[in-house]
Symmetry: C2
Subunit: 388 residues, 2 copies
């Protein structure tokens, strides 16, 4: 195990009716009569009545607010800039995100850009570390990105999708009421489940030895997400199954599953280039295509890790190491299919993507991608072939 630091001060409020606390949480943080920016996405937050509940709670607590709606999936830096202008103009003291990862990431990006004097894209492109941020509270509508507890932000700009992070961007409070997941379309359900699994797998596939405790936690979390994912796919109003997914997905990306080990993140790196190339591609669906291909390409770097995955997560075992590994990967792919996800570039409608361009972009800033195996652009080209 490696040395580590871990700090996760997000206050979590979980369960039915918790969204009505948002007003008092803001009062506690920035005081009554303060100015708050409410960020949300499309029409669903309005239709479901959640946005009304949130703004009513703010009003009842004497909090003033302005709204920034229409945040889209794969959220853009343009939208962030719009929010920054608005927030500065209105002298905003805190931000409330009502939505999923795109909305929360937009809110977190606005939160670091408002007090920053330079160009906010520096955080993402130049690796400037955020030192100040407005406080952010979240009301989650989609369990997937884990942004409601995470220290990460991912934003798209000029055909690239880049991330930044720091403990100061963790929301100070997050509300998760699984009832708001009942009306999610199947595409978002599967994309969310796959995204949270990926957040655990990107950490689980490590070359750091002796990670028994965290590896066991990761394996159990993956099993629970898969089990409950299949339940909600068939029974979208199953509060208890959604609760498991909401809770697992939120912890999946707060850092716990990577404590003391070197993480990978190559699949996310490759997928970010795919959904930056075509923003109608959903991140979680892209991961369903990338992950098994990545696994097939890299497993020989540390077969025992993949045997452990096959046995402890996918519950498969064959008579040779190689067969067990491949059966594990096949079982994961089957699970993605059962969830209704695409598992090839064609099914993702991404067969026209230029492999060379993707491979070059994916390694452009870090130089190489991932840690389980350090990938160069030629490796990514080979993984690309395995996605067909």
């Amino acid at each position: 195990m490696e040395n580590f630091e871990f700090y996760n001060p997000t206050k979590l409020f979980f369960g039915r009716g918790q969204e009505t606390r948002i007003g008092s949480l803001l009062v506690e943080k920035v005081g009554t009569d303060s100015q708050v920016l409410v960020v949300y996405g499309g029409q669903s937050a309005k239709k479901s009545g959640l946005l009304d509940k949130v703004t009513s709670s703010l009003k009842a607590s004497g909090i003033n607010f302005v709204e920034l709606g229409d945040v889209r999936p794969n959220p853009t830096y343009e939208k962030v800039k719009e929010g920054v202008v608005l927030a500065r103009e209105k002298n905003i003291q805190a931000i409330v995100a009502v939505g999923g990862g795109s909305v929360i990431d937009t809110a977190k990006a606005i939160a670091i850009c408002v007090p920053y004097e330079g160009e906010g894209w520096d955080f993402f492109e130049k690796g400037v570390v955020p030192k100040k941020a407005l406080p952010v509270a979240c009301v989650l509508t989609l369990p997937a990105a884990g942004s409601e507890q995470s220290k990460r932000i991912v934003i798209s700009h000029q055909g690239r999708k880049l991330g930044t992070g720091s403990d100061i961007v963790r929301p100070f409070a997050s509300i998760i009421n699984p009832e708001f997941f009942f009306t999610l379309p199947p595409k978002q359900v599967r994309a969310g489940v796959i995204d949270m699994m990926s957040h655990i797998m990107e950490r689980y596939f490590t070359q750091t030895p002796n990670t028994d405790f965290i590896s066991g936690q990761a394996e159990a979390a993956l099993r629970s997400i898969m089990k409950n994912g299949l339940i909600v796919r068939k029974d979208s109003q199953n509060y208890e199954a959604w609760s498991q997914i909401g809770l697992a997905g939120s912890f999946a990306h707060n850092g716990f599953y990577g404590l003391g080990q070197k993480e990978d993140w190559a699949c996310h790196g490759i997928e970010h280039e795919i959904s930056a190339w075509d923003e109608t591609i959903t991140h979680g669906e892209g991961l369903a295509v990338v992950t098994p291909a990545w696994m097939t390409y890299v497993w020989k770097e540390n077969p025992s890790r993949f045997v452990q995955f096959a046995q402890n997560v996918m519950g498969v075992k064959e008579d040779t190491e190689e067969k067990t590994v491949l059966a594990g990967i096949a079982a994961l792919k089957n699970f993605f299919k059962e969830m209704g996800a695409p598992v090839t570039l064609a099914e993702l409608h991404a067969e026209k993507l230029d492999p060379q361009e993707l491979a070059e972009k994916a390694v452009k800033i870090p130089g190489t991608l991932g840690n389980f195996k350090k990938l160069h652009s030629e490796d990514i080209l080979k993984i690309f072939e395995l996605m067909r």
Copy 2:
């Protein structure tokens, strides 16, 4: 699952050499030239050189300090009062605990008593909720109580051992360097392992339905603690195995393993009366005697939970439900024996304890004990018989 709130802002610093950060952590929290109280236990913190390292780090950071040593196992309110007088006299702004649960709990108790105008024992006996606390930082020497991340404090006074808690008593920073566990005597090793297992089991044995995710996390954590417990029992200098135990033990009591479910805590309640009766009894060893007896008495309240425990934690399965449950309990008891722990009152040297007095004291304040099955004094008498 039940609604819940969770807030755990303790900053964790894990691994070799982390103890040298203590000075700068204090500077960050209360500024240089501040006054700090350093709390520790017996001679081991001095002999190991850890206390020197900590005070050197404080000096190097320009932090002034006074020492309060000689905190004993099953720490007393008298010692807390001694610390409170000293802290007020010296105008202490923060507390550094160098030790295990007893030292940390003493530090946390001083931290809430210093700013409190009433009698500090009110927190424990009258259920007064702490509203203010001095900041506490920990350097852990014994993985067991999990106090370095927890919101709980347990203190002994006038033949009773009582607890209090609030998120404000969580340490703001905790340092865990597994190297400091190498010299622990076998008795403390087994007591620590059993105590952290108990913190998970007190939460795992719940009547709350639909706790799939957290239950899976708990099962995996228990397996990892047992596996690595047996390793360090034989190989006391195994850094990697100690790392798993140090990490698991620290998360075992921070609240994660009880999210969304009603917890039990009857075993802790009974054991606290045993070690309050004879303070030479180590809490973790007391739990090794109480827990299997409690299990044997209560399992019929929810057999499927105990079947799940037997299969998923202890890895045993028999041809009937009852046999599986009993085999699970027997396997746990065997594990305790393998660790060298007592499993009967006689082995604990507690056979002279008055069952009637213990049973009455254990239920005195709460009225009943536990939630998996609500225990009255007559139930505790029956559990007592199972401990013989």
